[in-house]
């Protein structure tokens, strides 16, 4: 990777990836509500319409099910659509096309087609948008064979993984935490890819493994810093992909640290952390465990509007610190 590296934001990184993909392959089109002159609800497409025109940066009517279905049909027949949901919550309107059609078409047809489709889901809480605009629903799609589901946590990764997704012949679902859009980080210019199936160790440690997804990676890193000050060495793993899960990387870490905490924003019950925990509990790493596997997930509530309640509904740095400290010191 010799390309110059600049600091750009997560949303700029996405935009750059889309522009590169569109430039090199005319089959790549963008679809979504208000992604044209409006630039997208989160300004992710920005002014791409000026560069690529309305035929390739297509505003759809407010028709999530139909729009997703059009993207599926287009993908099966030769285009490579990148479909933006305005909020991941609206996936609830399109589950039929995502799950019953896109995810299964190749299998049901015995391999006769591929569905090279990318869908982008702005997700998560923290914007005061309340219960119907703040959900983290990646666990739903992570449960669906036929899909690949990723949660890039950095500008670098979102660009590289989006480029990998566009090149992938199968449907790839990208969950982007809205609070990450403005986060800046080093991003190489030009084309590069980041694999869709590999977790990344963000910080090495030996006392406890913290496996986190999306924005929680950054909270876990903050927590690790605090913990380091207290003499607790935490290893932080950015899961990056939730289907497939990179078992190898997580298992190796737990074998080293003997302790595991899963941190994720989605509702705790049946959220991504449940799978990580269960995967470890049935793996060879089980014998290395010195403590219960903790999960810090979203509360068992819808996301409330009030900002203090909203914060309380998802894991925060102090809770991660407390959990890790408790686990390492054997205080339960």
């Amino acid at each position: 990777m010799n390309a110059p590296v600049r600091e750009i934001s997560y949303s700029q990184a996405i935009q750059e990836a889309m522009a590169i993909a569109m430039e090199s392959d005319e089959r790549v089109i963008l679809m979504g509500e208000d992604i044209g002159v409006y630039g997208g609800a989160f300004q992710v497409t920005g002014d791409l319409i000026d560069r690529f025109g309305p035929d390739r940066v297509m505003d759809t009517p407010i028709s999530e099910l139909g729009g997703a279905g059009v993207a599926v049909g287009a993908a099966v027949t030769g285009l490579r659509p990148i479909f933006e949901f305005q909020f991941s919550d609206f996936a609830a309107l399109a589950m039929e096309q995502i799950v019953n059609q896109a995810a299964k078409m190749r299998y049901m047809l015995g391999g006769a087609v591929s569905v090279p489709l990318v869908m982008r889901f702005p997700a998560g809480s923290g914007t005061g948008a309340a219960a119907q605009h703040s959900q983290s629903l990646e666990a739903w799609l992570g449960h669906v064979p036929g899909l690949k589901v990723i949660q890039p946590a950095t500008p670098h990764d979102v660009k590289g993984m989006l480029l990998a997704a566009v090149a992938d012949p199968d449907p790839v679902m990208i969950f982007e935490h809205k609070l990450l859009y403005k986060m800046k980080g080093p991003v190489p210019e030009g084309h590069y890819t980041v694999p869709l199936n590999k977790a990344e160790v963000r910080r090495e440690g030996h006392d406890v493994s913290i496996v986190a997804t999306s924005i929680m990676v950054h909270k876990a890193l903050e927590a690790a810093e605090v913990l380091a000050g207290e003499g607790v060495s935490a290893e932080v793993i950015d899961l990056r992909s939730i289907r497939p899960i990179d078992q190898e990387t997580v298992i190796a870490s737990v074998k080293k640290t003997s302790r595991l905490i899963c941190v994720y924003e989605g509702v705790k019950t049946l959220g991504v952390g449940a799978e990580i925990s269960a995967m470890i509990a049935e793996s060879e790493a089980f014998d290395y465990l010195d403590a219960p596997i903790l999960r810090l997930g979203g509360s068992e509530t819808p996301i409330p509007y009030n900002p203090e309640l909203e914060k309380a509904a998802v894991p925060q740095v102090p809770e991660i610190v407390d959990a890790a400290r408790g686990l390492v010191r054997g205080v339960r």
Binding site: V37, G39, Q132, S299, E300
Partner: protein, 344 residues
Amino acid sequence: MSGRARAMQVETETSNLPFIYRQYEREQLLDALRKMHLIRRFEEGAEECYMRGLIHGTMHLSIGQEASAMGICMPLVNEDQITSTHRGHGHCIAKGADVKRMFAEFFGKTTGYCAGRGGSMHIADVSTGNLGANGIVGGGLPIAVGAALTAKRLRTGKVVVCFFGDGANNEGAFHEALNMAAIWKLPVVFVCENNGYGMSTSTARSTAVANVADRAAAYSMPGVIVDGNVLSDVAEASHDAVERARRGDGPTLIECKTYRYRGHSKSDRNRYRTKDEIDDWMTNRDPIKRYEAQLIEFGIATSDELEAIRNSVQQEIDAGIEFAKASPMPSIDGLADNVYTLEA
């Protein structure tokens, strides 16, 4: 429920007066104006509080659309129900909610209509028949049909009004809801507030028909188009549709042509509308100005009386904001309240 307006006292031939002046008492007409002001000032007040960081999240202002909310609600009684939208402050006030508790909700306080859990996008006042705004475009459409089903099955005599935007008319939920309302002849009135745009996308670019009301034929229901900025026209269409629903003759689709002055929400670069277009609507077609002009023209109120209404509204707004500020924040312990009615 309603009488004849004092407009009779005016020279004009009563029968030539627009609908509302024949249908309603003076107090009702002035109350309608008061509420239209209340809606506008409420939203301006909320916007100000938002700018000053007192309110967070986002909000969708209906400034410019007040005649639609108010006109539709005039023929309704308290027991009638509405489902509302993300742009729902006007509906809420027109249906009878108290701005105190609305401000409190926007401030995230326990005294808010949703105890601080809902905010602008979920504002509701079930006691005055508002089943709630909705963060999902089109989300309220089938819910309204369900409420109308209850009214029919339990013979409550209630009518349900379902507000939605032009953008929502392309959602599958629109189609499914209108079809079911029609085949079951339910007492529901569908009100499309067509402000020309779903976010940035004009109806011309999103919708395969010229008027949303043209789609009524696909459900064998009447489709009525009105100038949504003329209170009387809106109220008349609503009156007819509500009567029809109450008689058991089934649903109607009303399309109110209107306009929102502000951007879609708090994050709008406004690249899709011209300044000229906006100015034209604000200057020449403002629903409040037009209504006030009529009230004076028909001798129903003097400009001093109108001024007094505006002042009293301003006081109500100020008091509402004070109430909201002074109200307590919810305690963190209450995070899981009301996830269930009965905890399992």
